[in-house]
Amino acid sequence: MANEPNQESYVRRVLEETREYERRLREDNEGLRELVATLEVERVALQKRVEELEAGATQQLNELSAMRERLTAQVNANQKSTEQQLAIEQQNTNLANLYVASYRLNSALDRAELVDAIREIVINLVGCEEFALLEPDGQGRWQVCDSMGLPADFLASMTRPEGALAGHLRSRQMHVTDPAVLSVDELDVSRPSASIVMSVGDETVGAVAMYRLLPQKSGLEPLDRELFDLLAANAAMALYRLKLQEFVKGGK
């Protein structure tokens, strides 16, 4: 019986300690609840922020994509504009060549000036340094009144043309073979790269036979053919006009 107070005291102490432990547990639990609540608030806030950032990023990506599209369109427009400018410059060059050729042919006051004009057109505008300017001698043969880059025997044989050249001269039409296919070894007097026959009405007044082009020319271009047309028409008229002038002067 002497131990009873001690036992009771012990039980009371354990009970108090348990209560104290329970109280602290409740406090901890309350603290944790508050923490969870705070974290939940923060999580919601962060979630909202993430959504805002995502929306911002999506908007920026869309803007970037739109800017890329605008940039691509601008680059394409610039490229198109450059191509158009190049085309216009090319057209201007072509017109300049045709104008100058026409001017030189029509402004020639004498035979030497006309021959010089034809020579310069063939060399500098067409780009050919192997050619001969032929004139009919009135007796069924041809005479070479100017030439460049062709050997003497070659020129001598042109007074009585044979082969394709003879056919071209007889046909009184322009004939053009792309000289890009001709090599150095294939130079053949009877096969010019281009034969331009100059006629006025039924009368043939001259012809230009061109052989190989300058090395930097890979072939004939549309402008060359226009120059040939211009030579055929304008040089023919100029030759005819000069012949008439010579005839009139001779008559006086």
Binding site: L86, E89, A117
Partner: protein
């Protein structure tokens, strides 16, 4: 007010000179003309052009000799020179660069190419 730049065209061919003038007609340059290498050198000395377009084959003094004279003269040795060659073969181009040309174009002259080379050397 900035002074317009001057380009000296040196060529004995009236046809080439006319074509060059027409290509440069709408460009912001004043054009000077000389008909051979010697006249080209003298005009360069007198007029101090900003650029010279020099033909190779010319009477009296050819383009290479004229360029040698220009490069040897203290007063005009720095003027950019574009050679205009009839033959685009390597030897012509090499000779041009050896005597001091800055660039070259071949005949028949391509307007876009010529304008681009001029702009590269002296701007438009």
């Amino acid at each position: 007010m900035t002074q317009r730049k001057k380009i000296l065209l040196v060529d004995d061919s009236s046809t080439v000179l006319m074509v060059e003038q027409m290509i440069l007609k709408n460009s912001p340059f004043d054009i000077l003309i000389a008909r051979d290498g010697e006249a080209g050198f003298e005009t360069a000395l007198k007029e101090r052009p900003d650029l010279i377009l020099m033909d190779v084959m010319m009477p009296r003094m050819d383009g290479f000799d004229a360029l040698r004279e220009i490069r040897a003269n203290e007063e005009i040795k720095d003027i950019p020179v574009i050679m205009v060659t009839t033959r685009g073969e390597g030897v012509n181009i090499e000779t041009g660069y050896t005597v001091g040309c800055n660039d070259y174009v071949t005949k028949p002259i391509n307007g876009s190419e010529l304008l681009s080379k001029i702009n590269n050397l002296i701007g438009s």
